[in-house]
């Protein structure tokens, strides 16, 4: 480990700091390291007070999202070799900061739950009827949108999330759309009412940044804009179809 890199990391202790500040660490790095490895080295060897979230180290849990050189990044996935000798690491943009690189996630959880991310049936299938049947073609209609790992890089990239607090956001809408497109689901109307509510999908303004940063190629921009069409159709058919309360 002969190469050194300098990390400018956001620090914030709510008990001591008025506002976030930057602390600099120069450390030796291994050429095979990801950004997360460097952060763990700093925490383990230099400054145990550094707080950051991480878990799987293999880009499936979504815990380690941060702003690296100003871009939303999954730090376990991004090689250090792609960066220069000085790297900035900040907490995810658009989220309140709890401490250092840790952000408040409850706001996301509220939006997430509001889109009812579960199979909704008008009447539950009786056990005797067996399992739902779904063809590969039906699965393909929503499978891409089920790959989200809730890393929230998309929320950090989205200019609408930055400016409109009520906006549901890319991941929540993509997940709601995933269920709307699931052949087993019968709750599209309920979700479309949420999509036309305060968190309205129509706030999306085609930045496409969410899809640019998504590490799992979910393409939330596609989901959000497909959801707009479905929401309009649901609204329009509401004038001719009487829907009972589900």
């Amino acid at each position: 480990m002969s190469e050194k890199k300098t990390f400018r990391i956001t620090r914030f202790d709510p008990d001591q700091d008025e506002a976030p500040r930057t602390q600099t660490y120069e450390i030796p790095v291994d050429p095979d390291w990801k950004v997360l490895d460097a952060l763990n080295f700093i925490k383990d060897e230099i400054d145990g007070s550094l707080s950051h979230r991480w878990s799987c180290r293999m880009a499936v849990c979504g815990s380690c999202g941060m702003m690296v050189d100003g871009k939303p990044t999954l730090t376990c996935k991004k090689p250090l070799s792609e960066y220069g000798s000085e790297i900035s690491v900040e907490p995810l943009a658009n989220f309140p900061i709890v401490r250092d690189l840790v952000v408040e996630l409850d706001g996301f959880m509220e939006k997430f739950e509001s889109v009812k991310p579960w199979i909704i049936r008008a009447k539950e299938r009786a056990v005797e009827e067996g399992t739902h049947r779904q063809s590969p073609a039906e699965l393909e209609e929503f499978k891409q949108f089920s790959m989200c790992i809730n890393c929230m890089l998309c929320y950090s990239a989205c200019p609408v999330v930055a400016n409109e607090p009520e906006f549901l956001g890319p991941a929540a809408i993509a997940l709601g759309h995933r269920y709307n497109m699931d052949s087993r689901d019968e709750g599209a109307h309920e979700r479309n009412e949420v999509f036309r509510g305060e968190g309205t999908v129509f706030s999306c303004s085609y930045a496409n940044e969410c899809s640019e940063v998504c590490p799992k190629h979910v393409d939330p921009a596609a989901a959000v804009n497909q959801a707009k069409i479905n929401a309009v159709l649901d609204w329009a058919t509401g004038f001719v179809v009487t829907r009972g309360k589900e």
Partner: protein, 119 residues
């Protein structure tokens, strides 16, 4: 006002969608010929002579196209100008900005229809 905007959102979005798609297609031709070609002398002088222009514009399809040319870009314009305001940090004033912009689009659309009716 916010509640009213949310209820009208599907209509606004449809008009915006038509504006960005059909409006862009129509405007490409309009700008190229009326905005640039004719003033720069690149098209035959009699192409937009009054008699011809009026005759074409007075047909049913002519009136529809001209009305679309006026109205549809206004809805794309109003919707995106609203986004500019929000992007600049004025989301809390959206209850004032959005109705103002959409009223401008409505006014322009109504005037556009009036303009083609009186041809």
């Amino acid at each position: 006002m916010k509640h009213l905007l949310l209820r009208l959102e599907p209509v606004i979005w449809l008009l915006f969608g038509l504006g960005i798609m059909v409006g862009t297609m129509l405007m490409t031709a309009w700008i190229a010929v009326v905005g640039l070609g004719a003033p720069m002398g690149l098209i035959p002088a009699d192409a937009l002579a009054f008699e011809r222009a009026h005759a074409l514009g007075s047909t049913l399809i002519g009136r529809v196209v001209l009305a679309a040319l006026i109205a549809l870009p206004l809805w794309k314009g109003a919707h995106h100008t609203r986004h500019i305001s929000i992007d600049m940090g004025n989301a809390d004033r959206d209850g004032l900005v959005a109705p103002l912009l959409y009223l401008i689009a409505i006014a322009g659309s109504v005037l556009g229809i009036a303009a083609v009716v009186r041809l």
